[in-house]
């Protein structure tokens, strides 16, 4: 029995079967309900938790069909689940057998199920909620005779909002036949187009697609076990079989997987999902298996409500497995070299590095294995960054011409850049001539040749805080000079700040050494 505050009074939002028999109903105030049955057990209503549970259940139902979606409260009445089983039912021995399987499994984990099966979404909804009360399952197979079959059902079976139902009720319309008999134009004027549309949907005159919670992957394989699997080795072997089958299919289509999703459907109605990514499209079952195994081994102990370890273990048994390649890329056939596979050939295997990266990412976490990538910035210390190794190799930066390598600097940059620029004492004519000499580490360098300035303004949009890891000292406009001293050594110096625009006259801009040109 659930209660939630509504309009100043705490009202019941859901009641159990027993409570309903005692005369309680949703919408009743809690005070009234307590008067009727003082021994009432009341819990707070948690809509977020309800939605999450419904989503989880929808995921679980993907064992039957990829087209599973929660039907929220927006359609009026209690929430539920949609399953589009077109083309799936025969896998379970027909529609009735599938429905039995579904309700049986859900009942075993403690759900009270009311299911409806029909050839239109509207009729199924109505069947599930307003079918014969004695039965948990109602099947409507009208095949074109919807108006007659549905005629006796109450109008509430049409998924209409409460206010519309109230209005129709006041007009004395009780069941679907009454409503269907009315002229459409008048109906639409009074109640909007929704009642008419719901009628058409229930009668199968207009289509109503279900949007699934997760898009159905193209590359998806499923295996169900007559007896649930408990031992890790058995599960791993089953996953391995799936991986091989998936790789065969990928090979036939010349595709390789970039992302894999393995779902373990447990007896307790819970789904564990494992995702693994590869840095390069792959269809090597050994490799994919290694990735999945890493995570399979580390799967946390499932939370359980079972009283003893034995039934907890039973709940954690796996009934069904699905393996899907949710991201794929074209991967063409490669000719296998005659020597590949020999032990001493592994270091020349072009896939070895990628496979290592994948394994490390799987073991250490995708965010902890990173690769360097180029970033467009004028500030020399900001031109490289690191991204997770499994991320797309080319992060979307500017729309450069393809020939423009992101690593190739547009302006001259020294081959060796100091991690932190070092303070030097320099003598230079104001305001922006190159220095004539500078002292670095106690050694005086007289400058014979110089070029500059290259003026680089700070990136004003970055807050100092966010940049703390990367930035050097306080940021000001920098004037960079390429200079050569009398011994022919070339340096890259900059002055932090401009003379004419400097904030503080007592604190002249400082000079820094930032790199060497060799």
């Amino acid at each position: 029995m659930l209660a939630a505050p509504e309009g100043g009074a705490t009202r019941l939002s859901a009641v159990t079967l027993t409570a309903r028999k005692a005369g309680l109903f949703p919408g009743q105030t809690l005070a009234d309900a307590r008067a009727l049955s003082p021994e009432l057990a009341v819990h707070d209503h948690d809509p977020g938790g309800d939605a999450a549970a419904l989503d989880a259940l929808a995921d679980w139902c993907r064992r039957y069909t990829p087209w599973a979606a929660p039907s929220g409260l927006e359609s009026g009445g209690a929430a539920g689940l949609w399953l589009d089983i077109s083309g799936c039912a025969h896998l379970f021995g027909g529609e009735v057998a599938m429905l039995d399987d579904l309700t049986g499994r859900l009942a075993r984990v403690g759900y009270t199920v009311r299911a409806g099966l029909a050839d239109t979404t509207g009729a199924a909804w109505a069947a599930a909620r307003f079918g014969r009360p004695a039965q948990a399952v109602t099947i409507i197979m009208a095949e074109g005779k919807h108006p007659e079959t549905l005629a006796h059902l109450p109008i509430a079976a049409l998924r209409l909002p409460p206010e519309t139902l109230d209005g129709l009720d006041r007009l004395g319309l009780r069941n679907i036949a009454d409503l269907a008999a009315l002229p459409r134009a008048g109906l639409a004027r009074r109640f909007g187009e929704l009642p008419a549309r719901r009628l058409d949907q229930a009668f199968g005159q207009i289509d109503e697609p279900i949007s699934p919670r997760a898009p159905a992957p193209v590359w998806r394989l499923r295996t169900a076990f007559p007896e649930a699997l408990g031992r890790e080795e058995d599960i791993a072997a089953a996953v391995r079989n799936l991986a091989e089958a998936l790789c065969n299919r990928l090979a036939r289509a010349e595709h390789g997987a970039r992302r894999l999703e393995l779902c373990l459907y447990r007896v307790a109605g819970r789904v564990d999902t494992i995702e693994a990514g590869t840095s390069r499209a792959s269809r090597d079952p050994d490799h994919l298996m290694r990735l999945l195994k890493e995570q399979l081994d580390r799967l946390p102990e499932p939370p359980t409500s079972a009283p003893d370890p034995l039934s907890a273990a039973a709940e954690a048994m796996v009934e069904t497995l699905t393996l899907a390649a949710i991201g794929t890329e074209p991967l063409h056939m490669t000719q296998t070299g005659i020597t590949t596979g020999l032990p001493n050939d592994t270091e020349r295997d072009p896939d070895a590095l990628e496979q290592l990266v994948d394994r490390l990412s799987g073991r250490l976490g995708a965010n902890n294995v990173r690769r360097f990538s180029a970033r467009e910035s004028y500030l020399p210390e900001r031109v490289q960054t690191s991204t997770p190794a499994l991320a797309d190799k080319q992060p979307k930066t500017a729309a450069n011409t393809p020939s423009d390598s992101p690593w190739k600097p547009a302006l001259p940059r020294p081959p060796r850049l100091l991690t932190r620029p070092e303070l030097v004492e320099a003598v230079a004519p104001v305001p922006d001539d190159p220095p004539v000499m500078f002292r670095w580490h106690g050694h005086l360098h007289r400058i014979t040749r110089a070029e500059g300035p290259e003026r680089i303004a700070p990136e004003w949009w970055r807050t100092p805080d966010a940049a703390a890891g990367n930035t050097i000292l306080d940021d000001d406009t920098r004037d960079y000079y390429r200079v050569e001293d009398e011994d022919g050594r070339r340096f890259w110096l900059y002055r932090n700040g401009l003379y004419d625009r400097h904030r503080n006259a007592d604190d002249p801009p400082k000079w820094y050494l930032h790199g060497f040109f060799g």
């Binding site: 970033r375 004028y378 979307k396 500017a398 302006l411 500059g452 303004a457 004037d479």
Partner: protein
């Protein structure tokens, strides 16, 4: 109209106002007022392929007590280097407006398509006849055909022709200016100093960068090299311009 860097007078001839949408980051009035503060006795308004900014520029200059130089920056669709066109009399002005109308009718709304043919074709009326001052804007890296383009301008067009040089602060300005001076000398056209002003004070760079992001449909973090390197595209006092271009009087 030519600018002698040693004389105390300097006039910015290459000015992009906010009438060049999403490029200029200052109102013509702001630019005129700043020019007056810096002691310039005139300011040009040369928006890209449009004359729309000159009215506000004129009013602003009047308030600030300086002259406005009416003009347009002609950007060509076929890779021809951009030109500053500064008509000096009414007929030249009407020929420029006619050219812009032709270009705009060729393209969709808010765009203007011009090509080298418009400039050089013998029956094109635009640059024929006196009164037009044309200033070629040197590209960042002048290509091999840039000198011949200048010679063609000088020989075929009856306008006064100049070459504009700008300090880009990319580190190689000394070398670049020397190269441009060389080109100008070979083509026998005078060099003028400009600063390609997009805003009146350096603090407006942030706004200019934001405009770039809007124009390019990107965020400031991903804009990268499409942003400007530094904040030098503002109006500068004559003395500073004189110092920057002291090697090229």
């Amino acid at each position: 109209m030519t600018v002698d860097a040693f004389s105390p007078g300097y006039v910015e001839l290459q000015v992009t106002t906010n009438f060049t949408f999403l490029q200029g980051a200052a109102h013509p009035e702001e630019l005129a007022a700043q020019a007056a503060v810096l002691g310039h006795d005139a300011v040009a308004v040369t928006d890209h392929n449009t004359l729309a900014g000159v009215v506000r520029g004129h009013l602003g200059a009047k308030t600030a007590g300086i002259r406005v130089i009416v003009g347009t920056r002609l950007n060509f669709a076929d890779g021809t280097p951009s030109l500053l066109c500064l008509p000096t009399d009414l007929t030249a002005y009407s020929r420029l407006s006619r050219l812009l109308t032709v270009g705009k009718r060729r393209a969709e709304k808010a765009q203007c398509r011009l090509s080298a043919t418009d400039l050089f074709s013998p029956d094109g009326i635009f640059a024929r006849g006196a009164g037009q001052v044309l200033i070629a804007i040197a590209p960042e890296n002048p290509g091999a055909d840039f000198p011949s383009f200048l010679s063609q301008m000088r020989d075929e067009l009856e306008s006064e022709t100049y070459l504009a040089a700008t300090h880009l602060y990319r580190g190689d300005d000394t070398r670049r200016l020397a190269q441009l001076a060389d080109i100008a000398k070979t083509a026998r056209i005078p060099l003028v100093a400009t600063n390609d002003a997009h805003y009146h004070v350096p603090e407006r760079r942030a706004l200019a960068d934001v405009l770039t992001c809007i124009r390019e449909h990107c965020t400031i973090d991903s804009a990268g090299h499409r942003l400007t390197l530094n904040a030098e595209r503002h109006l500068k006092p004559a003395a500073e311009m004189a110092r920057l271009f002291r090697d090229y009087p």
